[in-house]
Symmetry: D2
Subunit: 245 residues, 4 copies
Amino acid sequence: MSRTTPRVTIWNEYRHERSSPDVQRIYPAGIHEALREGLAPYGFELVTATLDEPEHGLPVEALARTDVLIWWGHRAHDEVDDEIVDRVQRRVLEGMGLIVLHSGHYSKIFKRLMGTSCALLWREADEKERLWVVKPSHPVAAGLPPYFELAKEEMYGEFFDVPDPDELVLVSWFEGGEVFRSGCAYSRGNGKIFYFRPGHETYPTYYNAHVLRVIANAVRWTADERGEAPRFGNAQPLETIALKA
Amino acid sequence: MSRTTPRVTIWNEYRHERSSPDVQRIYPAGIHEALREGLAPYGFELVTATLDEPEHGLPVEALARTDVLIWWGHRAHDEVDDEIVDRVQRRVLEGMGLIVLHSGHYSKIFKRLMGTSCALLWREADEKERLWVVKPSHPVAAGLPPYFELAKEEMYGEFFDVPDPDELVLVSWFEGGEVFRSGCAYSRGNGKIFYFRPGHETYPTYYNAHVLRVIANAVRWTADERGEAPRFGNAQPLETIALKA
Amino acid sequence: MSRTTPRVTIWNEYRHERSSPDVQRIYPAGIHEALREGLAPYGFELVTATLDEPEHGLPVEALARTDVLIWWGHRAHDEVDDEIVDRVQRRVLEGMGLIVLHSGHYSKIFKRLMGTSCALLWREADEKERLWVVKPSHPVAAGLPPYFELAKEEMYGEFFDVPDPDELVLVSWFEGGEVFRSGCAYSRGNGKIFYFRPGHETYPTYYNAHVLRVIANAVRWTADERGEAPRFGNAQPLETIALKA
Amino acid sequence: MSRTTPRVTIWNEYRHERSSPDVQRIYPAGIHEALREGLAPYGFELVTATLDEPEHGLPVEALARTDVLIWWGHRAHDEVDDEIVDRVQRRVLEGMGLIVLHSGHYSKIFKRLMGTSCALLWREADEKERLWVVKPSHPVAAGLPPYFELAKEEMYGEFFDVPDPDELVLVSWFEGGEVFRSGCAYSRGNGKIFYFRPGHETYPTYYNAHVLRVIANAVRWTADERGEAPRFGNAQPLETIALKA
């Protein structure tokens, strides 16, 4: 799959941008459109979907032709239909990539796939965040300097109640004194998941070149080639089994 | 906690043993009673609970005084009440140990905590299983030889659709040609989970000394001491945050 | 780097093929030439190097233009100069990929990078090996079926004394009763390492299409893009540090 | 082993304390004696060894009766005899625990066991360190609050060139803007290793109750029971191998 162009669906709750003037000023067309523009130079096929579309913009056929789904949600996690969550989970296990951004840590789909509360510490205080690369060899770190900074962000602090990532790529330092595992790589079934922390709706985080680079890298990493679909269920023996008394 | 006696609740579906003469012959008082007897020499406090008791034998107070829950189920996974599943999940995240045995891979609670399908290959063919220790330094391997054998068991084969274990302790070889990650150690929240493969209801697996040793080791490992309960939610800064324009 | 053509150096001890008629029959031009032919269709830049060349064919400049080094050795591990081992280790930590094949588990460079004895069980008995994919989502599993077989191979059995792989991709079943972690993915420094078990010199293993696919996948995975070179040593503060009494 | 009293050897370079008045004021009898006093309440058998003793205080018999070795060194890493390093490595692979403290990251034994450069960023600036628990379920976190602070410490910053820890327990926040993986758990062979960051010789870090608790927890964790010694080398088949043409 890495040999071809990944087909990416950017999913956004798209409520704050319509209800809050502060958010609207930063993301006038919505976070999904900012991401679409920011990722355009990377050469992916990009479509968007939002909560208030029919089936939240994620009908079966749309998911079937999605290689990587990017997810941003915050206030309306509960409004996401459980049937759509089932559908997305199945597609991830089949091999679709999933990139969960910021407050998406509390989305139904992320909690479903993690199996934990996904709770954390948080604070909105216009503070500085500095993200350090702790696994430079990981494809999601491609082209990143040893660290990069965001002048103002919401703080997320440990303990972050997720399973240990298969690979930990980024750790954040916060001005107010906390740390956070900000770039977490997982495999589930035949699919890959990347959780990436930054992106509070009141800051222009999704215009930052390093943030966009991480998301683009995560698209490539989750869209990479994989093995054939596993087989499950009853199986005939591959070797002769001796008869026993 | 490792300094005191772990309080263990052995949960069993307890249906096969009452409906199938073949199973009854092997486990006349139920798998839970065989496990209780087998684990007795290890000095744990042992109680049992079964599906058909009120609240499946797992009322809030019973779980509150359980350090480690052992789970065996097979045919009636769907009859387990979702509210009890929620309750067990919360207790695991709070720190209760969970040991999932054999066909419990398809239980609601295991699928919930793993976030995946937990599907696998299987076959009932009276075949030999040999379990190899691949992480001898792990506490669950305490006292185990490099491998041990079960003369007849059900086969479970890869791909096993679970998250990569935090630590892989045992890998099975099957006479019919498959392999399986048979001893998988996980942390979730402040709790620990161990999945252990053997134990089909038609074989006397839970009388095997090595099998009992693994389960006893897993009790000790999951019941071991841990950090204080994590704090979640809004947090005051620990350092002064500079005012920014 | 994945966007460009990986430059691969295939290193072979190249002794058996010249001293043993049995090996010569299978690999008349040496294992390195069989690998070069087998990997040619994948479009890499391929060069070879052997033990008896000056500096074992690995002068500083050759390593500097190598993205991925493939290593096969068996009888003459001790003849590899420690200075060359230092040199290869430095290049791996800088970001060069390293693929260690079969009996290379006992090479100086692999033991150096693993920090363990790399010991294992072994047997030469013309037995069947079946390799199962246990992480289909990993790029090294790209295009692989759930399992593949080698009719005759040397057996390697657990316990394999290596660090837990960052990701375990393949597990082998052996006819004689053992299992083995046959496809092990590691990161070290800014480089990636893949250990791949099959390839005894008396069998035509390196003509097998699945075996070649795994090696080609491992080339792509280890040659993938990465972060900038980490900085080490004394560092000026990035924030103001308060004076304390 | 956890059922009996762990026998701990505290190894210290013991040079700074004799040459620098500033260090002597803090650790008049040496860091090893401060650790011995601080760990005494935990009920271990405690002995010490230092660089300038014959065989660095680590003759074969002393290591043979050591369950856990604690290692502090800084300036004189190169004076540690390679034969003693070989000896310690073998004992770790056999099952001895090893706890490497602070500047011991650059010791020969740690670099040997890690296989990497173990390089990092550092700064001496009397700055605050706050250590966050990121895996509360781990035995090394037993009894720890969500975080603890050291008013003044040397800074160590990422990228820390070590293999990904099997389990990451603690992450440090530094006043000057860096983060660090400060509590790293590894298995190597049949032994366990814990790297713990704090402990610069010019600060009273080893009198801090939380620091001592971490070290005591690490003693228990590395001294815990394990499987039987693995077998290596040529092995007879456990199953009949079919004759092939």
